[in-house]
């Protein structure tokens, strides 16, 4: 009997273990009734929308737009559900397969998210609405391809449009204007000047680049920002969309890895950067520690408030005589559930979210809108926001908007994070780094 009890004890413990290995993925499907279509009025319905704008300033923008949408569309009620990105990514794949799932949801770009959902036939192609609303005037093909897949979900960057993005992002250099002014430094215009500046700042006893690689992902941005200056935009497009059989193991990528490694070795990053997280590093920079930091424009709203420091933004400059290409793109897009009963009103809502009015509200909180500001807008651009806007306009105008290269394969993010940590930790050389990353990429292309 004792043995039997023991057996049950052990079985219980191990069964509990198994079920707790995989973290809970709550599937909070809203109980709200979604749009029974009553005879009249024709538009008396509820639109269920899932988004990840949970930060207070962002959330206020969405609430404002929703209110205005409801006022403009009598009978339509917006039922909004907000999640943090990680939670949204986990639950939306399941929810969009449900008959009472969200009519509109933000769907993360890339193969593991939008690609997988297109393959599973969960998203409505938006091509007809693109024509109807003339979205070609709102965003160009470079932006549209980031939210496009072939209907089988296999080929990224072409085929049908599955989402529209309200916000834009550009990765560049934030700098502390006070520290620059005190030391007589100015914004560099070539990569050579930039490297000289790093040496000068270091010599002055100041941390040149506030950086923390503990969370991993931002190291991809640092490396890839340098990479974007060494390769052509075509290469970045091919690599990201998995077309034309490019390799990651190229002299340019080795050179980018070497420069990144040399910066670390020269002490240009925060002391102990490998043990510091992204947010911690940003907080240190905001508090005035470090002359510069390399990250995306999404950091700007945070630097506009709650600090007595004055910050500016510039694009990592190109090598002399070469173009400046920067990592950039559009934020997480809104998509429509394939089986929604209200596709037209959902499309109307998408159009609303990328309207000039939305642009103005986003700009008001310092977030880059993906669409142009309306004529005569009174948004203050004589500040850090204006500088990120200028940078975004510059790469847009010059057709120099690069990519987040971790979209290239479903495992590219994990591979890049691990391999960049090995590179910085002197566990592998720049040449070994590109070989290891290429192994992931080649395997992916082979499986395509």
């Amino acid at each position: 009997m004792k043995r039997i009890r023991n057996f049950f004890l052990i079985t219980t413990i191990f069964l509990l273990t198994l079920t707790s290995c995989i973290p809970d993925t709550p599937t909070e499907v809203s109980q709200e009734p979604v749009g029974e279509v009553p005879a009249e009025p024709a538009e008396d319905l509820t639109l269920l929308v899932w988004d990840q704008f949970y930060r207070p300033e962002e959330s206020a923008v969405i609430d404002q737009l929703n209110r205005e949408f409801e006022n403009d569309h009598p009978g339509v009620t917006i039922e909004r559900e907000t999640k943090i990105l990680e939670d949204l990514k986990l639950t939306v794949k399941l929810a969009l397969a449900e008959a009472d799932g969200p009519d509109v949801a933000q769907v993360n770009q890339g193969r593991s998210d939008m690609g997988a959902m297109v393959e599973a036939d969960l998203l409505l192609p938006l091509n007809e609405y693109q024509t109807q609303y003339n979205w070609a005037n709102v965003f160009g093909t470079s932006v549209a391809s980031r939210n496009s897949f072939t209907p089988d979900g296999k080929t990224f960057g072409q085929g049908n449009l599955y989402g529209v993005s309200p916000t834009a992002e550009v990765v560049g250099v934030f700098y502390n204007k006070g520290i620059f002014a005190e030391n007589g430094w100015s914004v560099p215009t070539t990569f050579e000047d930039f490297e000289q500046l790093l040496a000068d700042i270091k010599a002055a006893g100041i941390t040149p680049i506030a950086f923390g690689s503990l969370d991993g992902w931002n190291a991809i941005h640092e490396f890839s920002a340098i990479q974007h200056l060494l390769v052509s935009l075509d290469y970045i497009n091919n690599l990201t969309y998995g077309v034309n059989n490019v390799s990651f193991d190229t002299p340019e990528n080795i050179e980018a890895a070497r420069i990144f490694y040399d910066w670390a070795q020269a002490g240009y990053f925060t002391d102990g950067y490998s043990g510091i997280g992204y947010d911690d590093s940003n907080n240190q920079f905001k508090a005035g520690e470090g002359a510069m930091t390399i990250t995306g424009s999404w950091f700007a709203p945070e630097l506009l408030t709650g600090t007595d420091q004055d910050f500016g933004f510039f694009l990592l400059p190109g090598f002399s005589g070469q173009a400046t290409v920067a990592i950039g793109g559009v934020g997480i897009p809104y998509s429509i559930r394939k089986t929604t009963e209200h596709p037209d009103i959902a499309a109307e809502y998408l159009n609303w979210m990328i309207s000039p009015r939305a642009a103005e509200l986003w700009a008001g909180i310092g977030m880059l809108p993906a669409m142009s500001l309306p004529e005569g807008s009174d948004v203050d651009t004589d500040n850090l926001f204006g500088e990120t806007l200028f940078a975004w306009d510059t790469i847009n105008t010059n057709n120099a908007v690069g990519h987040y290269i971790d979209w290239a394969t479903p495992t590219f993010y994990d591979t890049l994070v691990a391999e960049l940590q090995k590179l910085l930790g002197s566990v592998s050389t720049p040449a070994e780094f590109t070989v290891a990353v290429e192994a992931d990429y080649a395997q992916f292309l082979q499986g395509q």
Binding site: R3, N6, I10, T11, I13, F14, L15, L16, T17, L18, T19, S20, C21, I22, P23, T25, K89, L90, K93, A97, S112, A116, M117, E119, A120, D121, L122, G153, S213, L214, D215, G216, T270, D271, G272, Y273, S274, G275, I276, G277, D280, P410, T411, D414, V417, A418, E419, Q421, K422, L424, G425, V427
Partner: protein, 301 residues
């Protein structure tokens, strides 16, 4: 109760089982079925979020054997056993024999404080220790600096040499209080007479510890070994909250790899195969320990 209400022997037992039914149904729904489903899933190559799954038989398992990332993660789990089981049990035994035999003033206070890490959520533990290990503002490095050991200051969680050791130590910190309380409870069962008698025979404290305390706590040590070892093999939240497996793969563990593979990268069949292997390993090790413990107590008897 009227005598007529009694059933014949044997029949009434079924009624007893009936009371177990609600609990069993919950168990079935939330534990047994998910496990069967996980094992079944592990034989498929998952496609289009489950809409086009391809039967691959043992294919996922064969791939696992050649997957250096999985093997690395699994070997890290084995290292975690040292930090989660071996060290806490030794520390727990030491503290229990100290606190249990020689009651000190404020005993309850110390016992509570030492047990505290066990009741904190692992994610909170992770956040706390991420701060503790911060290279420039973390107390660990500040303390080293204060006592003149600057050369030992590290970026603990970001260092290839130290990250696994650092995360592992946090595991020891969480587990030793549990072991200690378990052993303290067990020690109350050991008669004081054994200690008195052995003292009269001239046994010193170390000998008493080895020949009286440890054998007396055999079943508690068995329970501690099983629970902490399971914790070591399934560790997820601590790694998730501190290093996410980095730098490189130096703190990557199977639990985190399963999450990454199945949930983030949609490779659910492959992730399920990993989960199944992990479960089999945990089950076998638990049964083995249980068997060893029972045999040894049979011998003792």
């Amino acid at each position: 109760m009227k005598p007529q209400a009694h059933h014949r022997p044997g029949e009434s037992r079924w009624k007893g089982y009936l009371y177990l039914l609600p609990g069993f149904l919950i168990y079935l729904l939330f534990t047994l079925i998910p496990i069967i489903e996980t094992v079944r899933t592990s034989f498929f190559d998952w496609g289009a979020l489950g809409k086009s799954n391809i039967w691959v038989g043992l294919g996922n398992y064969i791939d696992l054997l050649n997957d250096s990332t999985f093997l690395k993660a699994f070997s890290n789990n084995l290292v975690f056993i040292i930090f989660y089981s071996i060290i806490p049990i030794m520390l727990g035994l030491f503290l229990a024999s100290l606190l249990g035999r020689y009651p000190i003033p404020g005993f309850t206070f110390f016992r509570t404080v030492l047990f505290l890490p066990q009741v904190i959520s692992m994610v909170v533990v992770g956040v706390i220790w991420r701060w503790m290990f911060h290279p420039t503002t973390g107390p660990v490095n500040l303390l080293l600096g204060a006592i003149g050991l600057e050369e030992f200051q590290q970026a603990w969680l970001g260092s290839f040499a130290w990250a696994l050791l650092s995360v592992g130590s946090v595991g020891s910190w969480v587990q030793y209080g549990f072991c200690m309380v378990l052993f303290l409870a067990g020690m109350q069962r050991i008669s004081e007479e054994y200690y008195e008698a052995s003292s009269l025979d001239g046994a010193n404290e170390l000998q008493q510890f080895i020949h009286i305390t440890v054998p007396g706590l055999k079943s508690e040590i068995g329970v501690a070994l099983i629970t902490t070892m399971i914790a070591a093999l399934r560790v997820f939240d601590l790694v998730y909250a501190t290093t996410r497996g980095g730098p490189g793969e130096s703190t990557l563990v199977t639990g985190f790899l399963i999450y990454r593979t199945a949930i983030l990268n949609n490779d659910i069949g492959y992730g399920a195969a990993m989960a199944t292997v992990l479960t089999i390993v945990i089950l076998s090790l638990s049964l083995l320990i249980r068997k060893l413990m029972t045999e040894r107590s049979d011998e003792a008897a």
